[in-house]
């Protein structure tokens, strides 16, 4: 196994481990922090896949924005008795079955499919490619995304506001 492969496996393990921690831990705050590391791991995966810009974007948005967001969410909605959660074993079984089923499906698809592989390209900085693609080929989605973000902003504010009558302005 080459050096790159072993690093890759390490990073994968890290990501999946923290991901599992997020899923199974009872402590929400710890789950949120573990999620950060999962995002980091994914960013690393992007690097392995020579998607540098994406990795950066991932770190910034996910690691920065969404994590904070989630933490805010946790804080604002915490229950009085110290954020403990219990996992219901009864519900777990069908979920295990479904998740397991999906994993089996994905794995078998991945293994059996005859991927039309092309030779990996030499690493080239993707920023320029992404930037020009956004501005030219994918301009419309780009603009739509910006509108969407605006809408989301307003919408989120609106939804989250306190109603005037109950609690005063």
């Amino acid at each position: 196994m080459s050096f790159e492969a072993s690093i890759w496996y390490l990073v994968a393990l890290l990501t999946l481990g923290t991901g599992a921690y997020v899923v199974f831990t009872r402590n929400i705050v710890r789950a949120a922090f573990a999620l950060v590391f999962t995002f980091l791991g994914v960013a690393a995966m992007y690097v392995f896949l020579r998607a540098d810009f994406l990795a950066a974007a991932q770190l910034l948005i996910y690691g920065g924005g969404i994590t904070v967001l989630l933490l805010f969410g946790v804080m604002l909605t915490h229950r009085h008795e110290g954020m403990e959660l219990k996992l219901d074993p009864l519900k777990a079984l069908p979920a295990v079955a479904i998740a397991g089923g999906f994993f089996v499906a994905i794995w078998s698809a991945a293994r059996r499919a005859d991927w039309d592989l092309v030779a990996p390209v030499e690493p080239v900085g993707t920023s320029e490619a992404i930037g020009s693609a956004i501005m030219t080929t994918h301009l419309l989605p780009f603009e739509e995304i910006s509108v969407l973000l605006l809408v989301v902003l307003i919408g989120a504010l609106f939804v989250a506001r306190r109603s005037g009558e109950e609690e005063g302005s």
């Binding site: 069908p94 089923g101 999906f102 499906a105």
Partner: protein, 708 residues
Amino acid sequence: MLTAALICLLVPLAAFVVQLFLGTRLPRGGDFVSVGAIGASLLAACWIFWQVMAGGEPGYQWSMVFRWVEVEGFTIPMGLAIDTLTAWMLLVVVGVSFLVHVFSIGYMHGEDRYHLYFGYLSLFSFSMLWLVLSDNLLGIFVGWELVGVSSYLLIGFFFPKRSAALACKKAFLTNRVGDLGMWLGIMLVWKELGVLRLEQVYHHVGAGAFSSEATLTIAGVLLFVGAVGKSAQLPLHVWLPDAMEGPTPVSALIHAATMVAAGVYLVGRLFPILTPDALLVIAYVGALTAFFAATIAIVQDDIKRVLAYSTVSQLGYMMVGLGVGSYFGGLFHLTTHAAFKACLFLGSGSVIHAVHTQNIWEMGGLRKKMPITFATWVISTAAISGFPVLTNGFFSKERILGDAMGFGLHLPQHFLIFALPMVAAVITVFYMTRVTIVTFFGEPRDREKYEHAHEGGFEITAPLMVLSAITLLGFAYAGPFERMVTPPSSTDYAAEQFAAFHYGESLRTGALDESHGAHAAEAGRGEAAHEEPAHAETGAEHHEAPWGPHRVDAHSLHTGHRAVLYLSLLALILGVALATLIYHRKRSQEALARRFSGTWRVLYNKYFVDEAYQAGVVNPLLWLNRLSAAFDRVVIDGAVNGSATLTRALSSGSGWSDLRIIDGIVNGIASVTQVFGAAFRRVETGRIQHYFAFFLAGTLVLMLIRVY
């Protein structure tokens, strides 16, 4: 002639209908309608009588026939026929009916349903006229039934009184028994001969169409059974005394003069076809009845009952007359009896109207208070007793007794046929005198009633006087009657075939006197004229009676007459003397009753015949009736109710099944749906994670299907 006959017949019918529907609205209850109608009939009858009698032909005949029922190969003709007998009967019937109508105006004054009474009288008149005018057996039978109905209605006129209701029912039912016999007789005649018109019947019988003499005898006897019922002979006499429940004028008209005479009339009409054996039966029945009824009449206390039993007895006389071959005797006695018996009944009605009682022991000395009634009563009593020459009863009664004696002398084994009526004659005088003495003579027994008694009005006394006048004039019309009213002789019908009787030569032997060939022809058929053989010329054909041994020729019948004359005079004196002796003194009735208490009890209770009938006939029938009713109630109603119960059970069963099963199925489906719904509803938990899980599971399944 046709017009007169139709007027005579139909005007009373019209009066009946008028009275039935309009009677209540007419003034005086419409009695003048009925009286007028019968008056019209009387005029018609008189005219017919004059037409018939003026001709002087005994063989007079007029008839009118129309086809009543006409079916394939089967016709029943109906018609009217008038001969000398019919003419006399018309006069008698309509005459007495008219007098009774007039009498009723006074007698029934103020009674309930007055209008209906007169209507019924008109109905009766019509019915009796139909009977008399009819030319065939079926027509006679129709008239027979009609008079029965009229009798029922009139006897039961005072039906609110229970005894009256029972009496009319008894009369009708007893008559029905007789009618059954008569109907069988008619059927037999029809079967044997195929015709019912009297003229044709005589013809066919004369031609020997009957299969045997025995059959002919049976037919004759059966038809006579009808007469036994209608004329109240033994053993069907029981209804006549009870019929006295009806109004007295009705008793006079129906149960003395006319309806009861219908039986005698029938026998008279059948005279040509009655075999000697049949005639013997008739004679015996008549003789026994005459004696039997007379004995009962001795002890009766009700004036009408005495007269009722007297009527029975006198009808027996008429039957005896016809039975021994005395056509004149029997039928003339019918007419004389009509006159004096009607007078007696109306007289009793006058008495009853005056003293308001029918019990003779509450009367007495009434001759001073009611002279007219008394006089007419005495005249009629003399008639019934056979008082010589002055009364019409003498002529008829003497003839009967005389001919009976002749018969008895000639055939000594049947002497009883003479003896019984002879003794009955004595008894007749006795009881009539008894009643006369107790009612009209002596001291009044009930002072109050006596004080109130008075003679009735003109409507009541006039008929009495008319009838007594008729009674007294008997000597005048006896001769014409005998001359004109003769039995239909074989010479009138198919004379040639008469000789072809195939009943056997042996029957032609016997007591027949050859030398009286001319007489013999008539003797075989009945009476010849007293003076001379009117049909001497027919003797040349030497028609002998086919039934020799029993028929007695005219000459032989005459042998007894002188002796009988003396005997009956003796009877008269004896009877009057005995009665006067006993009853002129007050206490005698009771003393006699005590001495002969056993006999008296039997006589007073009418030989217990009614009780015997009740026990032997009525009660078993009632028992049968109860049995049938019980059967009907238990079995038939049980079956019906049982089927109803079964239906109910079935319906409740099906209802249950509908409720339980059908509804169960329907409800079951509903609850299954509900259960399934409830089960599936549990999927809708409202929890997103569940929904998501289902969605993913479905997706997995789809993927699996897609791949494999």
